[in-house]
């Protein structure tokens, strides 16, 4: 029998939710473990089998000098490296520090700031090493995670739609809450993957899956103005879980 492909899961600055998605695959987990060797996944196992690894899943953003070095090591021992979630793909919610002085932040939270070692900015993995595929979402969609793992281990392209949440909303047969109810919604500019969850729950999309390719964010902002959304609230919409993704960053700066 051929050697089972080796999987590693790495954590940087994050909430653990995206790697938890793997353990949340209750129906698929044991089948997955039968076909791949879970070689390094600290949240699930004490056993660490040395690299190199066929596939590394990376969760979290880079925020410390130590992690800057660690991500280089991870890249070296990984054949394929896939980022999972908004932190690894765009810097995450903790990238909100990038808009202010981090030393002010440290003194707000910690009484003895000199004990804290941190970088000025929270950055995406792709700012530091080559990334083979980025899986969007805060959190990621677990079915998409299984798709990405199977695709990389069997050397095919992952089938992850890159269209907008709007498209998913139409497919779900929802009435448009932006047009019909005047609710502020980032659906037109946000990457698909959640299945248009928020609009299906009568609330506007708030951009968990980050920007889709080729977005027209300023056109959406104009529409939001017309609906009476305040400038600073439009800025906050673009400045949350994927604040440092280029399209959202540019748009939020336009509302400074």
């Amino acid at each position: 029998m051929a050697r089972k492909p080796k999987l590693a899961v790495w954590k940087f600055s994050s909430c653990d939710g995206c790697q938890l998605s793997l353990l949340d695959c209750e129906d698929e987990l044991l089948a997955l473990a039968g076909n791949i060797e879970i070689a390094n996944f600290l949240e699930a196992s004490r056993e660490v089998i040395k690299g190199p690894y066929d596939l590394s899943l990376v969760e979290g953003s880079i925020t410390t000098p130590h992690d800057l070095k660690r991500i280089q090591e991870v890249r070296k021992i990984s054949k394929f490296l896939v980022t999972i979630g908004a932190c690894a793909t765009a810097g995450g919610i903790q990238a909100l520090r990038n808009f202010q002085s981090v030393s002010d932040f440290i003194s707000i939270v910690y009484a003895t700031p000199e004990y804290i070692s941190t970088l000025e900015q929270s950055t995406a993995i792709s700012s530091h090493v080559k990334v083979d595929f980025e899986l969007h979402g805060c959190p990621i969609n677990k079915e998409q995670l299984v798709e990405v793992i199977s695709a990389f281990l069997f050397h095919r392209k992952p089938n992850i739609p890159a269209h907008s949440v709007c498209m998913e909303c139409k497919l779900a047969g929802n009435v448009c809450i932006l047009v019909s109810n005047g609710v502020a919604c980032l659906g037109p500019v946000t990457h698909a993957g959640c299945g248009a969850l928020c609009p299906s729950y009568n609330r506007g999309c708030f951009g968990c899956y980050g920007a889709k390719e080729n977005t027209n964010t300023s056109s959406l902002s104009n529409k939001l103005y017309q609906l009476g959304v305040k400038n600073q609230d439009i800025q906050k919409l673009f400045r949350s879980y994927n604040a440092y993704t280029p399209a959202f960053l540019k748009e939020s700066k336009a509302h400074d």
């Binding site: 954590k11 600055s13 994050s14 909430c15 653990d16 939710g17 995206c18 790697q19 938890l20 998605s21 353990l23 949340d24 209750e26 129906d27 987990l29 044991l30 473990a33 879970i38 600290l42 949240e43 699930a44 196992s45 004490r46 056993e47 660490v48 925020t63 410390t64 130590h66 992690d67 995450g92 919610i93 903790q94 909100l96 520090r97 202010q100 981090v102 002010d104 932040f105 440290i106 707000i108 939270v109 910690y110 009484a111 003895t112 004990y115 804290i116 941190t118 805060c138 959190p139 959640c194 969850l197 928020c198 729950y201 009568n202 609330r203 708030f206 968990c208 609230d233 906050k236 949350s240």
Partner: protein, 429 residues
């Protein structure tokens, strides 16, 4: 002179990154450090200036394992600030959502993080080779908890349906009745789980803890109550900061909590159970007494039994809520924004969590303070290790190290929470 170091650089089967360092010199423990090096994420800082309506969604991102705990604590603190109360079926739905998180989070810990220690496996995946049916049972139970969170909250991790004042959309009675059928089967599995873990071998390690939890006059605590302790403390949630303080130590990116009087304390399943036994459902109480537990439990290794009992309770409670559910007329109550301060504390799976916010006339956050369960337990975890290691110094180092890890896992520490903040090193000279 002999010395020994017990050291674990990266603790496994905990949420987030931490390690352990224990130094032993001449058969005496001289140093214990639960190191929390997970990078700090500064939530309290960047919450400033955000709309109060965004806070439940933003704070959920502190932890992917217990987002509901953050959402529930945030909405209750904000509602306290605005002087409103969410009652009736909306209150019941929030309780149902929390039941889902307890079941999902506790089952993850019982089957995938803690049980492998008792049975000598590196992970539940390794365990599945010898006990496939047990692991499948755990996965099915966990799925039932996740189903509740999905139906009420929209999705399992970082639910989207919770808002200050209530929900965005309310589930229909039919949605919940479909769910109830799965929960009835899950309740049988929970009962099996209690009986299974009760047969494990537990180290003789009874400690004199200062337990702290919420207590409510009519119910096992989730979202409301007063803060009580095994020493007779009984205070309103808003008085928390008058009695508890946080201290910043060098080896941890998580703040350490203690009582102002200097004592370390214990939050979590053992504290909740021991302070609220009488409020458990009849089936849960009967099951606990049947397996030989008393009404208090002070052996942290037995926390796996208490978690299993709480899973059983949460399923009982979820079914009770669903049976009496009537669709509320409105998904949320109306709010009037005003400049004010608000306080909230709820029972996360790992223990009491406290939030406090100050907002301005426009509803923007001026000040935020969040104290998760793992920061409150850090000192107690270290205290346990001080007491646990001396009697076990004759063990081979790898076995002692594993047992120390197990002692930490008793707390189901969530480091991601604590750094908003584990690594083990045992130094034996």
């Amino acid at each position: 002179m002999t010395s020994k170091t017990i050291k674990v650089d990266y603790l496994a089967r905990v949420e987030g990154e931490g390690g352990l360092y224990i130094k032993v010199k001449d058969e005496k423990v001289t140093e214990v450090k639960l190191k929390i090096f997970e990078p700090p994420r500064f939530f309290e800082a960047f919450l400033r200036g955000r709309n109060f309506t965004e806070v439940p969604d933003i704070t959920a991102r502190i932890c992917g394992i217990c987002p509901v705990a953050y959402q529930m604590s945030a909405v209750h603190a904000m509602e306290n600030a605005l002087g409103v109360r969410v009652d009736g079926q909306l209150r019941e739905l929030r309780r149902l959502l929390y039941c889902g998180e307890w079941i999902e989070s506790h089952t993850l810990h019982v089957y995938m993080l803690h049980a492998p220690d008792f049975l000598g496996y590196q992970s539940s995946i390794h365990m599945a080779k010898d006990f496939p049916d047990i692991v499948k049972q755990g996965l099915e139970l966990k799925k039932a908890g996740n189903e509740i969170v999905r139906v009420v909250g929209g999705r399992e991790i970082h639910p989207i349906n919770v808002r200050v004042g209530g929900f965005y959309k309310i589930p229909s009675k039919k949605d919940l009745l479909v769910l109830a059928e799965k929960l009835k089967r899950a309740r049988d599995l929970a009962l099996e789980t209690v009986k299974w873990v009760a047969k494990f071998n537990f180290p003789d390690f009874t400690q004199d803890y200062l337990f702290v939890s919420l207590a409510h006059e009519n119910e096992y605590p989730f979202n409301e109550g007063r803060i009580v302790s095994s020493n007779g403390l009984n205070i309103d949630i808003k008085e928390y900061e008058d009695y508890f303080v946080e201290e910043h130590v060098k080896h941890s990116n998580a703040l350490h909590s203690q009582m102002k009087t200097g004592e370390n304390y214990f939050v979590g399943p053992l504290a909740r159970y021991s302070l609220n036994f009488d409020k458990l459902s009849p089936l849960t109480k009967e099951t606990a007494l049947d397996i030989g537990l008393s009404k208090t439990c002070k052996n942290p290794f037995q926390s796996i039994i208490i978690r299993s009992l709480e899973i059983l309770y949460a399923l009982d409670e979820a079914l009770r809520i669903i049976n009496s559910y009537e669709t509320p007329e409105q998904p949320a109550i109306k709010l009037e924004i005003k400049s004010s301060k608000g306080y909230g504390a709820t029972e996360a799976p790992r223990g009491m969590i406290y939030h406090h916010y100050k907002i301005d006339d426009d509803g923007l956050v001026l000040e935020a303070k969040i104290v998760p369960p793992t920061s409150q337990n850090q000192k107690t975890i270290e205290r346990d290790l001080w007491n646990f290691v001396p009697d076990r110094l004759d063990l081979p180092l790898d076995e002692l190290t594993w047992q120390c890890e197990q002692a930490i896992r008793n707390y189901d520490p969530c480091i991601s929470c604590a750094t908003h903040y584990l690594k083990l090193t045992l130094d034996k000279e």
